[in-house]
Symmetry: C2
Subunit: 339 residues, 2 copies
């Protein structure tokens, strides 16, 4: 398998990105195409033992920064490492593209400039895999579409189902719609309208899912508007890291609690691993015509390696082909049969 | 001051509700009107030393349960303790009403059956006070209006400002709009439309606020659609309690970590207090024609007492009168001057 990696993605690029590529090539035996400024990549590669690893450098003269405007950068930097990397996928030279860069830019460049949408897909969705205490929940959209329509949510459900098949190995994932109450009829107009479409879709629809139920693993796939999904994700991240900070500060205030903290450390470490976003790797951008995984900007080498692992899983699972088929079938079912 | 309390509100009612009333009467010296089934209230009161406390029993033959449908119960149970208690406020026999009961029912009964809206208020808003590490943030709407309009959000901002004056003692609170990005232009169409109105309003508007910024105390009042606000609140609650559960489980797995947990206990206790929802008491329902505080269903006696404390603060701060004035001024400013 050949995976293209944007080495100019992470906040501390290119060091963690290149190291992640080295780790991935070593662990998976795949070919990794490192996309970015040639000289800088080679300087980084010089720091690692890369003998017998299949690493190819693909030069890109520009790169997207975290402050670049997603609506502008696609046109303004046509030779960015994101453009070059995604074009490798579009042209069949790579099977997937991974970046820890600017999410909005990756979305816009993928959708409007290189890969474009899978035919029939109304809107690509940014997809998070939330891992909590052994449960994994796929949530989409978490930020690509701040104002989603009910029929988009129905497509998100189909794409989420396909992704749950390949990423979580679930044949018949439970699909819910994020709402502010469990009972049917609770929720915004969008939730009501989407519910009608989700009932009719070829999925195992379980109705409304509240955040608490989601965290308990009460659903495998949860669909929502991109604005709400983003608020959900950021509230979970913000709330838990706030709590951890508060605990750390309080533990350091006394001698006994300091000793207690020392003794408790293994438990803290296990919990951190249980809810570590880097364990999963990244968020797939579902609905574009190629596998694209977007990692966290704060990614370290391990996170980059895991994002590459996630990309190869999506390729192996035939996610793009399955979405294509699923969307076509759903569209056919919508149309009246012609004689 | 005279405060009416729904003793049939909390999940374990009437015991914690009645005890909370006793604690409040003792601490604040106020008159508490206990609304509910007379015989049960008197049986509960018999368990406490109530000499020299100003406690009055107001009989109500029905009560709202947590499973009653908000859209139905207002008409179906016209003699509920919520109806009776709110009517006491409407008729001037009490200064405020407190309940730990069904939020949707309280909202519907207040708005449609007893207190009704303050003239000019388009929609009442359920208002949460999120307390994090010494910072308090007022968030509204957190559940009354699952599909809010931009002009409602602008009114929420005015009501939130007034409430921040009285509840937090802030003369010029920073008001933000909840969004999925800090930069102007980020967010749903509702956020964009509301931003235009919020800029023109008589408030200290600071623009978009992300969940993380909210948790850092970067705003004093944050307005949002009731659906999104509810998801925010439930994600924060769910995420933090999930983390606490995970830590507890992991700490109990080993002998050393158990000892560590024991030594760390004071730090945990302080953190719990720092983010304890019961420390605040309840959520005011802003925009109805009287002070209504809705406590958590899981309220214990201390939480009920604190909710009563919150109600008296709102009465002392003249919240209703200030909202009335603020809304009238804003409406006048909207209308063209007539000669």
């Amino acid at each position: 398998m050949r995976i293209a990696l944007d080495v100019m993605g992470s906040d501390d690029c290119p060091a963690p990105d290149v190291e992640g590529a080295v780790l991935a090539a070593r662990e998976y035996g795949d070919t990794i195409l490192l996309v970015g400024e040639q000289a800088r990549i080679q300087a980084e590669l010089g720091k690692h033992n890369t003998s017998e690893l299949d690493l190819i450098v693909k030069h890109a003269s520009e790169f997207v920064t975290m402050t670049d405007k997603p609506g502008v950068v696609g046109k303004a930097k046509p030779n960015s490492s994101m453009h070059v990397g995604m074009n490798l996928v579009r042209d069949g030279e790579a099977d997937a593209f991974v970046t820890a860069g600017n999410t909005g830019a990756a979305l816009s460049i993928a959708t409007l400039f290189t890969l474009r949408r899978i035919p029939g897909v109304k809107r690509p969705a940014l997809t998070a895999i939330i891992r909590i205490r052994g449960n994994s929940v796929i949530v989409l959209d978490v930020g690509a579409n701040a104002d989603s329509r009910a029929d988009w949510l129905a497509q998100f459900a189909l794409m989420g189902k396909v992704y749950a098949n390949s990423a979580l190995g679930l044949a018949n994932p439970r699909v819910g719609v994020l709402s502010n109450g469990e009972e049917e009829g609770k929720g915004s107009q969008l939730v009501q309208d989407a519910t009608a479409l989700l009932r009719a879709a070829d999925i195992n629809f379980i109705g409304n899912v509240e955040p608490k139920e989601l965290l308990r693993g009460g659903a495998d796939v949860v669909v929502c508007d991109g604005f709400v999904g983003n608020i959900l994700l950021k509230s979970l991240e913000g709330g838990t890291s706030m709590l951890v900070d508060a605990l750390r500060d309080e533990l350091m205030k006394g001698v006994l609690t300091k000793v207690g903290a020392l003794l408790s450390r293994p438990a803290f470490r296990r919990v951190r691993q249980e809810i570590d976003p880097f364990e999963v790797g990244g968020a797939p951008l579902l609905g574009v015509n190629g596998v694209v995984i977007i990692g966290h900007g704060r990614s370290n080498a391990k996170a980059i390696k895991n994002a590459i692992g996630q990309a190869r899983k999506a390729v192996e699972g035939g996610v793009i082909e399955s979405i294509r088929t699923g969307i076509t079938d759903a569209t056919d079912a919508d149309e009246p049969a012609s004689l």
